[in-house]
């Protein structure tokens, strides 16, 4: 038997009490906006010292980008193009659709070239990312345990494949609280690419699992209501909606005075918060204030659900205190025609990803924003026809911001890009590092559930990538 007390919940309570007190009238919306909930400078989960990052933007390349046509240059593989894959690499390994087939090397489809002052070499199809490559550390040695999309996403987001576990954004919201209660702290955006199959994504990927529901990720949608049910019913204007919410609030208070039910006040506070969110969300998604220069930088014309528009939205959320922003781009499942597909998909993400880095930097936000760029796994050095199959033994990720020294490379795969062999980074190591940069100790950020102290990084040892962040 262990105490079922969750420190994060106590913080939640105090924050809620604050809001209830502060928001006695609807006119006080401004009071509860920026920094209302930033009361958790110290907490039971914190690592000593000031955190390096306040927020995370995860540019999530769903479908599994080929590391061999992005950030991991393999000249040896080019030499073996069309030759049988040496069995010393693949014996006894799990494959997905290639299971049981003859395995032949597929050379990288594009040349790499040096970029930036660092001269880091990446695929020439990513010239814009190349132009800001000095901000990035390229991790070439990731590995994961799951070879199919749904379980691999679940592992990447929650640290396990069992359903019912919280995702990284939920853990972070739980551990750090919110910077702006008028917006969700964990927001998910997604776009669909034209270069590959757009594999489905489950809401499990942003679920709060066994953590309280308020830590759940919220989708910012490009069609219909930007946040579900955030718009008033047809015919009801903001003043009328305000009347309704105010009447609810006052009646709840009248009633609570009689029953002494403390939850009534908490409910009222959430209604008032909801009403403020009804103003904050439209303000967030209204791009009218963005200059043409900015729109051009990202390569978007407005809120159209494209990756570019979502990247711009991510910057706006970073400015407004959203803690964890996950931008899915569903277009990387290149089983066939990796060359053609990569041309398309690279074009879809290159400019806007680079623009986000540039834009955050010039606004002074990059220094305390962590940017992650990568997918749930990589792709085989062996061809699947003219495409590549799923691959879990070695793939690449990019990290930038949060004071991470850029223009560097960490870890390596073997000469054919099959297995990570040097400074291997398991997904849970990445998790530990992300938490660390936010000032959270991955071994302390836990929650008691069914008698177990559960953590994002699980029970296997996970390490903070000190060489990357130093």
């Amino acid at each position: 038997m262990r105490p079922l007390l969750h420190p994060g919940l106590l913080n939640g309570l105090s924050r809620r009490t604050f809001l209830t007190g502060a928001a006695a009238g609807l006119g006080q919306a401004a009071l509860a906006s920026l920094n209302a909930g930033a009361a958790q400078d110290a907490g039971p989960f914190r690592v000593p010292g000031a955190p390096r990052a306040k927020r995370v933007i995860h540019l999530y390349m769903a479908g599994g980008p080929s590391h061999l046509e992005t950030f991991d240059e393999k000249p040896e593989l080019a030499k073996l193009d069309g030759e049988p894959m040496p069995e010393s690499f693949t014996g006894g390994q799990q494959l997905a659709q290639l299971q049981g087939r003859a395995l032949r090397c597929l050379g990288p489809r594009f040349p790499f070239r040096p970029f930036g002052e660092s001269g880091l070499r990446i695929c020439e199809k990513f010239p814009r990312l190349g132009s800001v490559i000095d901000e990035f550390c390229i991790l070439n040695s990731l590995e994961t345990d799951q070879i199919n999309h749904d379980p691999a996403h679940t592992l990447f987001n929650t640290g396990t494949t069992l359903p019912g576990r919280p995702s990284m954004g939920s853990w972070i919201h739980y551990g750090l609280g919110s910077l702006n209660e008028n917006l969700p702290a964990f927001v998910v955006l997604s776009s669909i690419g034209k270069g590959g199959q757009s594999q489905p994504i489950a809401a499990r990927q942003w679920h709060s699992g066994f953590l309280p529901s308020r830590y759940q990720g919220v989708e910012l949608r490009s069609v219909g209501d930007p946040v579900l049910y955030v718009q008033n019913p047809a015919g009801v204007d903001r003043a009328q909606q305000g009347d309704v919410v105010e009447a609810i609030a006052r009646l709840n208070r009248v009633r609570a005075a009689g029953t002494g039910d403390p939850e009534a006040a908490a409910r009222t506070a959430q209604y008032e918060l909801a009403f403020r969110m009804q103003a904050a969300v439209p303000e967030l998604v209204d791009l009218a204030g963005e200059s043409q220069e900015v729109l051009d930088l990202y390569g978007t014309e407005g809120r159209d659900g494209s990756y570019a528009s979502n990247c711009l939205m991510a910057r706006r959320m970073a400015e407004r205190g959203v803690r964890f922003i996950q931008v899915y781009h569903r277009g990387w499942d290149h089983h066939g025609g990796v060359q053609r597909s990569m041309e398309i998909t690279a074009k879809e993400v290159d400019q806007a990803s680079a623009a986000l880095v540039t834009d955050l930097k010039r606004r002074g936000l990059l220094e305390d924003t962590l940017i992650l760029f990568g997918g749930e796994f990589g792709r085989t050095p062996m061809g699947q026809g003219d495409g590549r199959d799923h691959h879990i033994r070695g793939f690449s990720y990019l990290m930038a911001g949060a004071g991470i020294p850029g223009g560097r490379r960490y870890g390596a795969t073997d000469p054919l890009g099959y297995a990570a062999v040097e400074d291997v980074v398991h997904v849970r190591d990445l998790h530990a590092t992300v938490l660390h940069l936010l000032g959270l100790d991955h071994e302390k950020l836990g929650y008691d559930f069914r008698g177990l102290d559960l953590r994002l990084t699980g029970v296997e040892p996970a390490r903070v990538l000190r060489d990357v962040i130093a």
């Binding site: 199919n148 594999q199 047809a234 204007d237 569903r330």
Partner: protein, 1006 residues
């Protein structure tokens, strides 16, 4: 959240025993050892250090080279105490493990000096049959004690010097009973009747009325579905819909008929294995198909078969045993006595279920599946089948008239002539080439596009042409021997069109010697060019077929020009004619005749082979005027039968086959094939399951669960049911009865209820009735007592927000919109556009149901595991990917937005407004009161009344100024607004009704 925080004093309570009482191993020592010591000195062999187990007394007291971890004779020499107290190198080792406090160390020392008694964890011991305590405590009047439940509750309160809370007021009590038992608010009449006679007898009468309602069964079904993870979709990857709803009806029926829980258990786990299992029992066994399954390409079947097994073990042990056996999938359990081997032995019970690892069947088909007709459908099926056989008998009967007519028919057939046109030119739209052979048949080349159109062009013949015939012929060189170029030898003829001198000649009729189901020849001349068409696949290689198209007018004769016949074949996948013959007919209505039959026509009847004779007979019977009525009747019956069969619901079935091999998977790794093969068995901690001379089955497992000897099953169920009505479990950790779970606050009451349940023949309804008619249940929740002790002692009732489904159901009930039918297929409520945009394979467009189906109880709403309906999810409805014992009860702005703005709640508000406006000649004040009664079953206070009238006046004015907005608001929802109401008035009242439905009080059970 508050409930969680209030647990701390419970632990304090447990840790402090008075100096006189012996230390309790179960309450005090085992939890301590489990938390600090078992991780390295417990059940898990994989992490065990120094070969020491502190969970087994024998190991703990064993002599190890002169020292013992626990030494009851020389207590101070116990290595355990020495190591725990070692300041320099304390156990458990730092820095990751918290050292023991001095109070904890003292407790250990006292326990050892008392002889270090171990006993079995309470939950694994058979329940006692305790005597109910006497009620001499002067804490409550004697009539407070309605039964044994109240005796124990009072006794527990007495220990803390607490009196029970006063009885709740009549209105709260009726609301509580109705919301708890039905998931629906009461009516004003129910509340008023009870207020007039609030005695115990009246309460029991009301309880019996509610327990007999079908809505009570629906309410319990929602409870059960969270446990068994019922949903409409597969849960993994594409999250496809599957066939499951008959199982929901079975569960509702079972609760409605108060099926004994032992039978309820056996039929779900092993209904298919019961001797002479009837359909209902086979439907029940669909429980075994509720695990998450995948259709994702590239998934390895073996991996997923292992997952399915683990999923089933996890669910069964969570639901029935409240045990975390699932932890042993990868390693021996750290705290509880389950080994990994035992996990896989449980899995072996499910090894007989017919299934595949990766379902590559159609999008929504997951065989095996069982048709489950309703009683009406079953009856109609019988009627249709017998009517069909009657008409078939008539169609097969031989009469002299028929024989004579047949002879005439065959003669005509033999006379009809088919000519092969001369100077034929055949072209392909994609450059395919054609080669003619001596028999006049064409061979199409293999190159060219997958879709193609062949054009046959020839000069009009001298004799007027009435029909066109195509023969599709077998050929060794074609895939599957043809007649088509597709991999399976099939052909789809999409569309045939005829032009003479450039002028189109319609086709009036077509006949084929064979039609593949779903590909009738009519599709080949319906004017639509698409995937549909005439196809000929019939499960045998290279079967020839023939089709005849009749022209609207005779074509040709002297002076005519060229005829052009276009044969479009655009199905794709090379469903193209591979070997075929083209000919022209001069007889009107020439039948289509299998080509090999035609040569036999000229033979005398007696010399035709039997098969040909039969075929010609059938051909004749299909056309002769003498049997026209019977044929029409047959067609009608067949069409109705097909429609009916399409309407009969299916359910995924559990069908037993030879069990697959079950191995222990080291660390859960499905690729490791070195683990021991195991047979079905139950974990030793739970008892034993013995069968003689055969492999134990799911049926044995199910019967073992409910044989009355299992120490957990009845306690676990009682605890869950108790929590439904009392707000918290007697064991607070509903799904963990292991050593890491909490101890029961009222162990004797728990055992009493558990044994009583078994003794009653697992009468669930009697258990519920006992609880909700107790005085303990009837206490008020409105009592200001900040101590959590009162809560643990059940010295008051609890307030809590309603579950998601009941918030929706309640709004619909109050507004009069609720459609109260019980059972049936899932329905689709309104849902925001694009909510399913993350789904694929296939992409899905959500179409809401129509009419009444939109207003059914939420229980019937389509449950998409990966995207649960957003307004249910906002109120914590679980995804049902796994067993959910206890939903969180969150309070978020997203929930507020859903209740404010989801069209179903806006529509309910408008319908509610219509209700209160429908009474003539009422004042606004009377209408407000009516509205309050419908939603809250009470009259408004003066302050409430004034506030609402103020809102009403403001919105009357603002909507009157914006009539189009008033119209827009009142048009929300599919239910019609009655025309006589002025929309601005209705809109203003809709605002008032929205306020009512959104009140805290409206969505809380007190």
């Amino acid at each position: 959240m508050l409930a969680q925080a209030s647990l701390i004093p419970l632990l304090v309570l447990a840790a402090v025993t008075s100096g006189d009482d012996p230390v309790s191993f179960g309450r005090e020592i085992r939890p301590l050892l489990a938390d600090r010591c078992f991780p390295c000195h417990g059940p898990d062999a994989g992490t065990r250090e120094a070969n020491l187990r502190l969970d087994l007394r024998a190991s703990a007291v064993e002599d190890r080279a002169g020292s013992r971890a626990i030494d009851t004779r020389a207590v101070a020499d116990s290595e355990l105490l020495i190591r725990v107290g070692d300041d320099l190198d304390p156990m458990p080792p730092g820095p990751d493990h918290a050292p023991l406090s001095s109070a904890e160390a003292d407790l250990l020392e006292r326990w050892i000096s008392e002889g270090a008694p171990y006993d079995k964890h309470w939950a694994y011991q058979a329940p006692d049959r305790p005597e109910a305590p006497g009620v001499d405590a002067p804490l409550a009047p004697p009539e407070w004690v309605r039964g044994d439940i109240d005796r124990w509750i009072l006794d527990g309160l007495a220990d803390s010097g607490l009196e029970p809370a006063p009885r709740a007021d009549a209105r709260s009590l009726v609301r509580r009973l109705s919301l708890d038992l039905l998931g629906l608010p009461p009516t004003q009449a129910q509340v008023e009747a009870f207020a007039l006679d609030p005695g115990q007898a009246a309460l029991e009468g009301l309880v019996d009325e509610l327990l007999a309602s079908p809505h009570h069964a629906e309410r319990l079904t929602t409870f059960w579905f969270d446990l068994v993870r019922f949903a409409d979709t597969t849960g993994i990857h594409a999250d496809n819909r599957w066939n499951i709803t008959p199982y929901r009806d079975w569960v509702i029926d079972a609760f409605a008929s108060n099926m004994p829980f032992d039978r309820f258990t056996v039929e779900q786990i092993a209904g298919d294995l019961l001797p002479d299992a009837d359909r209902s029992q086979r439907v029940a066994a669909a429980y075994n198909r509720l695990n998450l399954i995948t259709r994702e390409g590239g998934s390895q079947p073996k991996e997923f078969l292992a997952r399915y097994t683990a999923d089933r073990v996890r669910n069964l042990t969570e639901v029935w045993l409240a045990s975390t056996v699932g932890c042993a999938e990868c390693h021996d359990h750290k705290f509880d006595p389950f080994s990994a081997e035992e996990f896989y032995e449980l899995g072996a019970f499910f090894a007989d279920i017919e299934q595949v690892g990766v379902y590559l069947s159609g999008n929504n088909t997951f065989p095996p599946e069982l048709p489950v007709p309703s009683a009406d459908q079953e009856r109609r099926l019988g009627e249709l089948t017998s009517a069909l056989s009657a008409v078939e008998v008539a169609l097969a009967a031989e009469t002299p008239e028929l024989a004579a007519d047949r002879a005439v028919f065959i003669d005509a057939l033999a006379m009809s002539s088919w000519i092969t046109p001369e100077e034929v030119e055949v072209r392909s739209a994609s450059g395919r080439t054609f080669e003619a052979d001596a028999s006049g048949a064409w061979r199409s080349s293999a190159d060219g596009d997958d879709k193609d159109t062949f054009t046959v062009r020839f000069p009009a013949p001298a004799e007027p042409l009435r029909s066109i015939r195509l023969e599709l012929l077998a050929d060794e060189a074609l895939p599957n021997q043809g007649p088509g170029l597709a991999a399976n030898g099939n052909v789809v003829l999409s569309e045939v069109s005829v032009r003479v001198d450039g002028e189109s000649v319609p086709i009036t009729a077509a006949r084929a010697s064979f039609e593949q189901p779903g590909y009738p020849v009519a599709k080949a001349h319906d004017g639509e060019l698409g995937r549909a068409g005439w196809a000929v696949m019939r499960g045998q290689d290279g079967a020839p077929s023939e089709v005849v198209f009749d022209l609207a007018r005779p074509v040709g004769g002297p002076g005519s020009g060229a005829v052009e016949v276009e044969l479009a074949q655009v199905h794709g996948g090379r469903h193209l004619m591979g070997r075929w013959r083209f000919s022209l007919g001069t007889m009107e209505g020439s039948p289509a005749l299998a080509p090999d039959l035609r040569g036999l026509l000229s033979l005398p009847e007696g010399e035709r082979p039997e098969a040909a004779r039969l075929e010609l007979d059938l051909l004749h019977r299909a056309r002769c005027a003498l049997l026209a009525d019977e044929r029409a009747e047959q067609a009608r019956l067949r069409a109705e039968l097909m429609t009916l069969q399409g309407q009969i619901p299916l359910v995924m079935e559990t069908r037993a086959v030879d069990p697959m091999l079950t191995r222990v998977l080291a660390r859960g790794n499905w690729m490791d094939e070195t683990g021991d093969v195991v047979l079905p068995s139950v974990p030793a901690a739970f008892g034993t399951l013995t069968v003689e001379g055969r492999r134990p089955t799911r049926l044995d497992l199910a019967r073992w669960l409910v044989d009355g000897e299992n120490p957990l099953v009845a306690r676990v169920l009682v605890n869950r049911v108790w929590r439904l009505f009392m707000g918290r479990g007697i064991v607070e950790t509903l799904d963990d009865f292991g050593v890491q779970g909490t101890s029961p606050t009222h162990p004797e009451l728990l055992d009493h209820l558990a044994t009583r349940l078994v003794d009653s023949g697992w009468d669930l309804r009697a258990l519920i009735r006992d609880i909700v008619t107790s005085s303990a249940y009837q206490q008020t929740s409105a009592i200001a007592d900040p101590s959590s002790e009162r809560g643990q002692r059940f010295g008051k009732q609890v307030r809590h927000r309603l579950d998601a489904e009941f918030i929706r159901d309640g709004a619909l009930a109050a507004s009069g919109l609720l459609q109260r039918d019980v059972g049936g297929p899932s329905v689709r409520p309104y849902q925001p556009v694009g909510y399913w945009s993350h789904l694929n394979f296939p992409r899905r467009t959500y179409r809401p149901s129509e009419g009444d189906a939109l207003h059914r109880r939420a229980l019937y709403g389509h449950w998409q595991r990966q995207f649960v309906h957003p307004s249910l999810a906002a109120f914590d409805a679980p995804s049902r990917e796994r067993c959910t014992s206890e939903r969180p009860r969150s309070n978020t702005p997203l929930a507020a937005l859903a209740l404010l703005n989801d069209p179903i709640f806006v529509e309910a508000a408008r319908a509610l407004a219509q209700q209160v406006l429908s009474a003539p000649d009422q004042t606004d004040g009377e209408r407000v009161e009516d509205l309050w009664q419908r939603v809250l079953q009470r009259a408004p206070e003066a302050a409430e009344q004034a506030l609402l009238l103020g809102l009403l006046a403001e919105h009357r004015a603002s909507f009157a100024a914006r009539p189009e907005d008033a119209a827009a608001l009142t048009a929300i929802g599919a239910s019609p607004a009655p025309p006589p109401l002025a929309t601005d008035e209705l809109a203003a009242w809709t605002s008032v009704a929205r306020v009512a439905l959104n009140l805290h009080e409206a969505i809380v059970r007190e």
